[in-house]
Amino acid sequence: MIEYILCFLLFCIGLYCILRKRNIIKIIIGLGIIEYAVNLFFLLIGYRMYARAPILAKDQVITNMVDPLPQALVLTSIVIGLAVTALIVAIAIRIYEKYGTFDITKIRRLKG
């Protein structure tokens, strides 16, 4: 149970980072932390005690293995997270070019 609580704590740290920080780069880092917390949660769901990864190897018989389905999901999720992060960074660079700042409270020239 303690591992799920720690995972939720990691999620809360990321959420705090997104809601409370004003620098766009720190918000992007917070998004990354949230993403990794969710990935960790998926992996924890599939975990079994004293089990090993479901990969066949030579001269070995695996009797006790973890659930491979969350791992496949997390692999896809990592790829999507990479693309999303690249997109956000590109938008952040564009904002910096246009406004000269990363502070979200100073970006106010949206109207008109």
Binding site: A53, K58, L75, V79, A90, I93
Partner: protein, 150 residues
Amino acid sequence: MKDNQQKGMSLIVKTITRLTVGLILLYGIYIVLHGHLTPGGGFAGGVIIALSFIHLMLAYGKETALKKLFQTLTSVLESMGAVMFLTIAVLGFLGGYFFLNFFLNKGRSFELFSAGIIPLCNIAISLKVGAGLFAIFVALVLFRSLGEKK
């Protein structure tokens, strides 16, 4: 020489990069080729291959890295990866259905040349991922330098 020193990072970083960048590239290729036997595969190996070029770019500045791998070449490689993956998938129709293993010789398990079309798919994915990730990085870097010029 002075002008060459200015670009990129310090001499220590450049020396370490020169020693390690080939090893990183080789490790990426190893991960791709053994994707069907050990953990790893197309995506992870492609990311490591792209990271070796990004490493070069961070240490030596963008001119040296772009001399090794042009921007147009990266887009060609990326498209080639996608087309290769689709071709492997469509070649399965020779036997009747999508993604059919068209190799008659199955090979023995736990050897490098086994598992039919999966290693070829891994190579295609690694081309796509490696070239794509490097292209993203190059696009961000060039984007910033364009903004500074304005």
